[in-house]
Amino acid sequence: MERTWSRPGPALDLLLKGGRVVDPGEGIDEVQDVLIRKGKVAELGTSLEAPGGVREVDARGLLVLPGFVDLHTHLRTPGREDEEDLATGTRAAAAGGYVAVFGMANTDPVVDTAALLSGLIERARREAVVPAGFFAAVSRGLAGEQLTEMAELAEAGAVGFSDDGQPLATAQLVRRALQYVKLTDRFVAVHAEDASLVRGGQMHEGPVSARLGLGGMPSIAESIDVQRVLEVVAYEDGRVHLCHLSAAASLEHLERAKKAGVRVTAEVTPHHLTMTDDEVASLESTLKMNPPLREESDRAALVKALKSGLVDCVATDHAPHAPEEKDVPFEEAPFGTTGLETAFAALYTGLVKKRALPLATLVARMSAGPAAIAGIDSPAVRAGARADLCVVDPEAVWTVARDGFQSRSSNSAWLGRKLTGRVRLTVAAGRLAWEADA
């Protein structure tokens, strides 16, 4: 059953010469040539020759990695194509080394009917440069009341169900969703948040919000809802995916549930893994997101959980916003940062180079980890596999600039920051999806 769609293109022939192939799924970390023929990895070896007519790329000093998968992207289509559409969103994904992205359902209109989903899939077939898939809503119109027709939506191709952007309104809705989704082989993804505790909130509640006078969003607003959802999952023997965990207390609930055999997976974002609420003192609206940047103790706990595998994957929560929406006082700005084009570099700079996370673990959490949750084949640098890979320059130092994005939006939390590591080339579904200017 297909879960992603992209526009057709010529199957790639390419020889990547002398790159360091790091594919933890295949147990590889060594310099290998990679020959791609007709969109598939044909051969790995140490002195491969390019067959006649096949272009050779000098990959010496570069990393060759299985392509990344993003379980949490806001593609803003339909409804806000001024912020992102399937072409720009997937081009941003390609520029970030992604070979599959999954869009959330909180669009306008909400993706809550099979007809709407089928229309999106048609558009992806025409416009998406890397394979794109879609979540459908749990509740109609995200209103938190009536379930969507999950069976029909699954047949139409929904990767899973989520009311992301807001929590599942009631415990009863959590329960019904977990029960009903069993008619399909899909899963429910939850944005955990107790709405009553974040009303008027602007940033993480703590010493920084106290000093700035910004409304607080306490970490318990997340952890209380994580606990509530996990109790229902355990009771119903359901399956759930927890979106963008940000608080150390949430991880404690997650760990307890996993140990008890509850079927739960979880994601964390690059911004929560590399930034804290101290940054918000600048009142830059690009640093306003939900869940908010939290304290160093939370950040450190997230890194540890990603490393151990308690948290299964990295997801960007790529949230494009129009400049006129973000170029306003912090307190009036919408939540969200873009992330597809900076994810790997931010984590490579913030974690791998600082020896907080091995490169192979980062690759696993950005590739095989999310692929398994989505139910798609893991991207792999393996002879015979479809070519879904990216080539990264681990020495490239670049400054994130407003005019440097493939995304239609530039509301990046990393604006003005210097990052190390840049994606040079991305092959998605056997086609060349991205190649940086030399």
Partner: protein
Amino acid sequence: MAKRDLISMEDLSRDQVELLLDTAESFLPVLERDIKKVPTLRGRTIINLFWEASTRTSSSFDLAAKRLSADTLGLKAKGSAVEKGESLKDTAITLSAYGPDIIVMRHPSAGACQVLSANTEASVINAGDGKHQHPTQCLLDLFSLRQTFGRDLSGMKIWIVGDILHSRVARSDIMGFQMLGMDVTLAAPPTMMPRGIEEMGVSVEYDLGRLKEADVIYLLRIQQERIKAGANFLPSLREYSRLFGITTARLQPHQRVMHPGPINRGVEIGADIADDDENLIAHQVFSGLAVRMAILYRTVVGYSDVSSGGEVL
């Protein structure tokens, strides 16, 4: 030369604060003359943007600018293009076309001054932004304290009592009081005390049991909306008043009371104290004019002539 903004008390060093207060003091004789005007900022343009209701701050900034002979332009959200949906960025660009030297702004949202500053060549003075900062109020409070207790305020104990959570005045005052060496204690019901505020180096109290230790008691206004159903900050104003309201019975003879206004008689402050000449509340209003003259002046000419002792006339 980079423009000088005053958005937060953190934008000022202790020396700059002292210089501002000295400058304000040097303006006092002007305010006692028959002709209360000096030509210091003649030809300069100062715009007052008040996106939120204000009596004291807007009137004293306006008068301060006029006393310094600057040309002033006052705008309120009501009746302006803001009501037609104009963004702050566009307002900033529009007004900048007049080439103002200073834009004074009050705005309901934290972060507004940063947006304004990014879109204008004018210096931005924050006249209150959301619950974030109100640095000019802090400076006039320091001025009143200095005029009352002398130049050295170090070691004095000041209690700030009231809705700390929603108060931009409290946040600026904590920084300013500490900058001049004062010892700051906050007292409020736990619902109105921001979590983590003690990391600013203040003591936190949930009752007035130790109030007698204070030299100065700084009261904050309790707003009606805090008792709205669903907000749940206070069960009633009556109970607040019983637990935290300051009346003569709760005061030691040497203790002085301050309040940024507007006051709620019978809620945070007893009528007996409000009407008592010993409180500093009227002095604070008076200080506002001289201090805002000093702020406007220093924003235009700079803080570099510390050696002159702030003499400006």
